[in-house]
């Protein structure tokens, strides 16, 4: 009698299906098999797009140019040249120096901003984050172009200052210099610094800061003893995310760097373009990667050690 208070089930439970092929059975029973299957197209593309090309790049870097073709005997000659000929080392060093300065500048400039949004913005936080990261998603080429317009010999700054009567002749150092490249890189990659910094600051439990204050720390001491150490993962991530891609940049130096601001990326691009020495270009790419990996490792070890000492 109580049974009637519920509507009757029409189909009394579908009968269990007979297991189909072994593959289907594996997929049904094994979660990880399903997981890998769903990941496989992405992994396949990434393998074809990253792993295989790198392998080929490695092989070609061991060849040498011969006229318009390649001498396919394997040799380390290109690596030798990249080490002994000063132009390569000099450009590599300059790339790291320019990227390093740009990275430090970006992280330092973005930290207060991320801090402001994480701790002092209470309404429309999302709006702020979008505003700060929006330019990053738009054309890199056009943003660099915008700086060319601004820093140019007859650009916005020079012509503006001149028409305001502040200077008589255009300031030459603005365009075609490492300074121009650093300014542009710092501006262009700001969003890459802000996001990780913001995330790491936002994650900090506010009661930790209150505890530090309660235990006698003033704002400065609190920042250096609690906030900064806890946001270090964000600082490290931001540094990596800017330093690594910018070392290989060639658009910015090509448009704004001039001869003094050229970076290793321009040289690599030349090997694949005008110079037409693909093996040398491949070698330089690989050397660049190795240097980046080595620097990243050192950076990671140092920050870990420093952090261990602070906390």
């Amino acid at each position: 009698m109580a049974e009637t208070s519920l509507p009757k089930r029409r189909s009394a439970g579908a009968p269990p299906r007979a297991p189909a092929s072994p593959l289907l059975r594996l997929l049904r029973r094994s979660e990880s098999a399903r997981g890998y299957l769903m990941m496989s197209p992405t992994l396949l593309i990434m393998t074809f797009g990253i792993v295989v090309p790198f392998f080929i790049l490695l092989v070609i870097s061991l060849w040498t140019r011969q006229g318009f073709g390649f001498d396919t005997t394997l040799t380390l000659a290109n690596y030798g040249r990249s080490w002994t000929e000063p132009i390569y080392g000099a450009l590599m060093l300059r790339s790291f120096w320019i990227s390093g300065v740009a990275t430090v500048a970006t992280v330092l400039l973005c930290y207060p901003m991320a801090y402001y949004v994480a701790f002092h913005v209470h309404r429309n936080k999302m709006m702020w984050i979008i505003l700060m990261t929006l330019p990053f998603w738009t054309s890199y080429l056009l943003r660099v172009f915008a700086w060319k317009v601004i820093l140019g010999y007859e650009g916005v700054i020079n012509s503006g200052l001149m028409s305001a009567g502040l200077i008589d002749a255009p300031l030459g150092f603005l365009l075609y210099s490492p300074t121009a490249v650093i300014i542009t890189l710092a501006h262009a990659w700001a969003a890459f610094a802000i996001l990780p910094l913001y995330v790491s600051l936002e994650k900090i439990d506010k009661s930790l800061l209150e505890a530090a204050t309660d235990l006698g720390d003033g704002p400065m001491a609190r920042f250096f003893r609690v906030t900064l150490p806890l946001s270090m993962p964000g600082v490290i991530a931001a540094s990596f995310l800017i330093f690594i891609p910018t070392t290989g940049d060639y658009i910015t130096p090509a448009l704004l760097g001039g001869p003094d601001g050229a970076m290793i990326g321009n040289l690599i691009q030349l090997q694949f373009g005008a110079v037409n020495n693909w093996p040398m270009g491949a070698t330089l790419s690989i050397v660049l990667m190795l240097w980046i990996a080595a620097l990243a490792l050192v950076f990671l070890l140092v920050t870990r050690k420093v952090q261990g000492r602070i906390t």
């Binding site: 990880s32 399903r34 997981g35 769903m38 990941m39 992994l43 593309i45 990434m46 990253i50 090309p53 790198f54 080929i56 790049l57 207060p112 801090y115 402001y116 949004v117 701790f119 002092h120 999302m126 979008i130 505003l131 700060m132 990261t133 929006l134 998603w137 738009t138 054309s139 890199y140 080429l141 056009l142 172009f145 915008a146 317009v149 140019g152 007859e154 916005v156 020079n158 012509s159 028409s163 501006h187 506010k206 800061l209 204050t213 990596f240 995310l241 690594i244 891609p245 070392t247 290989g248 940049d249 060639y250 658009i251 990326g265 694949f272 270009g281 491949a282 790419s285 990667m289 980046i292």
Partner: protein, 266 residues
């Protein structure tokens, strides 16, 4: 409302405003000078004109390049979003070994200089004898868009309780129907965000395109070509202004939808 820690700080406020101005002003010079009636990009401004835009309208190569970029962008955004959904789902919903390593692998293009990808793919394709075309550009874009698609979609999948999908299975729906009746509506904002974002990235992308373009240029490649001619500056400015406007709008909507959706979940 504001606690001791969060009490207002005037200096920081001022810094934030200046920061935003410096972030945006350089980009705003492009539309400003695109309406300037002079082929020189310098102050003082010479007067208002829309003739550079009118000139663009009649240029055949501009339309071709635009169409090429749209084609590549559409295909790349759809493929990378579909693959991103599958990858994000398997990362968050199945117990698979080496998950961390796989995610790192997928995110690798974010931290490797684009030029290295470009030349590596160029070398591979030329060894395989594949002629450069819009397809090769698309492949390059796919590789840099996939991490962004996965990164956009992952939080959506992480943000909702897996037992909601289990409830659907428990109530009699198989995997396919569960996806369409539960998963898809719930990750919809992420999918929209991913589509818009990856389209914009592909549409604006230059580094990969530089190495992988054949005879059909994408719009950024066309612009790069025009930059060599100072007299083309005004028309490039007009084109750049249009592209920036469209990109800003698309990305703004993408971010808004994506983050709004995430906030609603919480």
């Amino acid at each position: 409302m504001s606690s001791y820690i969060k009490r207002p700080n005037r200096a920081l406020q001022l810094y934030a405003v200046i920061f935003l101005i410096v972030l945006y002003v350089p980009v705003l010079f492009i539309p400003l000078f695109s309406f300037n009636d002079s082929i020189y990009v310098r102050f003082p401004l010479q007067g208002f004109t829309v003739k550079w835009y009118g000139e663009l309208w009649t240029r055949e190569p501009v339309w071709n390049a635009l169409w090429n970029s749209v084609k590549v962008g559409l295909v790349v955004s759809v493929i990378s979003t579909v693959l991103g959904v599958m990858a994000a789902r398997s990362i968050t919903r199945t117990r698979i070994r080496g998950k961390g390593a796989l995610v790192t692998f997928i995110m690798m293009p974010l931290v490797i200089p684009g030029i290295i990808f470009g030349v590596a793919l160029l070398v591979l394709l030329s060894r395989m004898g594949v002629p450069l075309s819009l397809y090769t550009v698309g492949l390059g874009h796919l590789i840099i868009c996939l991490p962004f698609a996965v990164a956009t979609l992952l939080p959506r999948f992480e943000g909702f309780d897996p037992s909601i999908e289990e409830a659907s299975a428990d109530l009699g729906e198989n995997g396919w129907w569960t996806f369409w009746r539960v998963t898809f509506p719930m990750v919809m904002p992420g999918i929209v965000a991913s589509l818009l974002l990856t389209f914009t990235i592909s549409f604006d992308e230059f580094i990969m395109a530089f190495f992988l373009t054949g005879t059909d240029p994408t719009l950024p490649m066309y612009i790069w070509g025009q930059l060599r001619f100072p007299k083309e500056f005004p028309s490039v400015l007009a084109m750049a202004a249009l592209i920036l406007f469209v990109s800003f709008a698309l990305v703004f909507v993408a971010q808004w939808v994506g983050r709004k959706g995430l906030e609603d979940q919480e």
